[in-house]
Symmetry: C2
Subunit: 407 residues, 2 copies
């Protein structure tokens, strides 16, 4: 596996474009298109929120019916959630307009939205945006990057990742883009991720690879504990690499999954580190666990703790909050066996041993915690299983962004 | 039932005192004592956090062994959590010193702590504080209020409540004090509540009344989602009212429970409204529910949502966040049947009907949301069960308090 430049246009046969449709923002692009010159198999995972946005319902049906897909159209101004039958009709209309200008079937167009809940889409602007996207789509890396920029809301950085991997003796490419910043969502809505690949792969293998990997990547990040109505991950495969078809459970499947994992984990960590108002990516690693489920529950609880996140913002080695968050996670462990370490590019420092504090240097701890990526490692000394979760610090800027998001 | 002035000294035979022991704060009282002239039956509920502070373990044993209790000694500087065997010994020593100066058994002294996790108690200061408390204890209402002030950490207001209720033809008093601001804790630790009553009541009835009522009061508040290592509610009954003994399941039990509920709910709401950095008490009411569990899950999810709390801070009628928080709560309901209202002393306004927005006045909504107590009411139209939860808004001040709490 090799990490390469690029995003959704890295794989063969994929094109992308961005447009400034003026849906919410007046000074930037706010619509994006991904297009494949050949129809794709598509796998998807969606929000578990009982309140689901119209595009989530639309895409889920396409994925479940195993329809082939050739395009994804996204807007980053309005979420099209809690918009009733009218919102559903606008979603269908968005797919129909896109299908018309691209000369494909409406049922092959996936739709995604992010932004304010409860407002209806301005269809005239959307329609104009779609025409422009269709006209300007290109297969170069720059077009992929422009699309990654157009789907941002309160993100401060565009998020792309791509790798190549040998399947048999054929080089397959997987690339993706995402916007943040949480399955546990940052803003109003939404976390969106779109992955493209030119791999030939069975529908079963494609969905299995995505569904299992989402559990270890996107589902292990948190910005604020609020699960969006629009969360969507789509994985499109057009088969244009020409490899022998990847089947579920084979060695080739494992290689594909490993490459996909790299792209997913990269995008997930970028989202966590770019959480609203964040100044640091905050990683929690549980080691010495007995089971994966236990390790994941403990790790997730740490990165979800408001108090821990506020302490990270203050570069304060307030380890009591971390042990406390592990304690209420619901997972079993013995607090009196826990060793805890802080780690970053400034070094590594043990803070507690067997549940009580060592005589560590607060100064050194503060230095470690002042870096842009901070890791806490908790060894619970029960076995050899590990898991990680990713979040960010909780800052004044988060409040500023969210106390008045709609205006 | 009648609401009266006072707190822990409102009931017959209870005395209180406060002392400035200099444990953490140098310019205020930080230790409190509650003393009953007669031994009390005692009921308690404690944190479910797997990491439990030393005083929680100490008190739980007294409650479980059904020992009689005559005193509660509290410090508000250091939590005595994650302090190992040394911390447990200091906790026992605190009880022994208190017992010695009061002339009672060590096993009749309940201990509570709140403050920083992981530090050991300065026993010399504690011992001096205990002597002072024992000397200065009095049964007047002012002494109760001074005790309520001494247990505060980041609380901005002392929290007291008291009622009288007729049991048979005897007047029984229940009074209490608490510090905030969450079962879901505000600071580092802790929520503490101490209730005293002169009722004669069986141990079974006393514990049952407390355990069931805690579910509807303290367990329905949230400040930041972090459950403390020290959460403790103690209910002491000395029987000095001389009423016929209250037994579990009788009409008198129900009357006692109703009066206890008033005290608990008052203290719980005061804690929520005085959450760290809070400018408003935020109440979520679910009406038209099918079951109590469903209503409680939905209400709690709303007051726990960071995004909703930030919107309340901004007086922003961002109802999409509320529906979103209901959606990920895990409780079943039909989003397309929900009616939503905002209510405060500035009026009441319907915002959505059957899951979609009405053409409401944003100006009026902002006015309603600018009050010190704000209620959101969601009618899910399935039945006639209701439940409420209480939280607060999420402000810049919360970050300021928690980004550097220890220093």
């Amino acid at each position: 596996m090799q990490v390469i430049e690029g995003g959704v246009t890295a794989a063969k046969g994929f094109e992308a474009a961005a447009a400034a449709a003026g849906i919410k923002y007046q000074d930037r692009t706010d619509m994006a298109l991904i297009y494949s010159t050949k129809p794709c198999k598509v796998a998807g995972t969606f929000t578990t929120n009982r309140v689901k946005a119209a595009p989530v319902k639309w895409d889920r049906e396409i994925v479940e019916k195993q329809l082939k897909s050739q395009a994804v159209v996204v807007n980053s101004g309005i979420a099209n959630a809690c918009t009733g039958a009218e919102g559903m009709a606008y979603c269908a209309q968005t797919a129909e307009e896109t299908a018309k200008v691209l000369g494909v079937e409406a049922e092959s167009v996936l739709v995604a939205s992010t932004g304010v809940i409860g407002m209806q889409l301005p269809m005239e602007k959307i329609t104009k945006g779609i025409s422009q996207l269709a006209k300007e789509r290109k297969s170069d890396l720059t077009s992929g990057t422009q699309a990654a920029q157009a789907i941002m809301t309160t993100d401060t950085k565009k998020k792309e990742a791509a790798v190549t991997v040998e399947i048999g003796d054929t080089l397959v490419t997987i690339g993706g883009m995402a916007k943040g910043s949480g399955m546990i969502h940052p803003n109003m809505c939404t976390m969106l991720a779109f992955i493209t690949t030119d791999a030939r792969i069975s529908k079963k293998a494609l969905q299995a690879a995505l569904s299992t990997d989402v559990e270890d990547t996107y589902n292990m990040i948190s910005v604020d504990g609020d699960t969006s109505t629009n969360d969507t991950v789509l994985l499109l495969a057009n088969g244009m690499a020409g490899n022998e078809k990847i089947r579920y459970g084979t060695r080739e499947y494992e290689a594909f999954k490993e490459a996909l994992h790299y792209v997913n984990e990269s995008l997930a960590k970028e989202m966590a580190g770019d959480g609203e108002g964040a100044t640091a990516l905050f990683e929690a690693k549980i080691i010495g666990a007995d089971t994966k489920a236990q390790a994941k529950t403990l790790a997730k609880s740490i990165v979800c703790s408001n108090l821990t996140k506020a302490a990270i913002a203050g570069h304060d080695a307030n380890w009591g909050r971390i042990l406390c968050a592990m304690g209420y996670s619901g997972a079993e462990f013995d607090p009196e066996k826990v060793d805890l370490y802080f780690e970053s590019e400034a070094g590594r420092l043990q803070i507690i041993e067997n549940g009580t504090a060592l005589d560590y240097s607060e100064e050194k701890a503060a230095e470690i915690l002042s870096q842009p990526k901070v890791t806490v490692i908790a060894d619970i000394k029960e076995g050899d299983v590990e898991a990680a979760a990713w979040g960010c610090d909780l800052t004044h800027e988060y409040i500023t962004i969210n106390a008045d998001y709609r205006s």
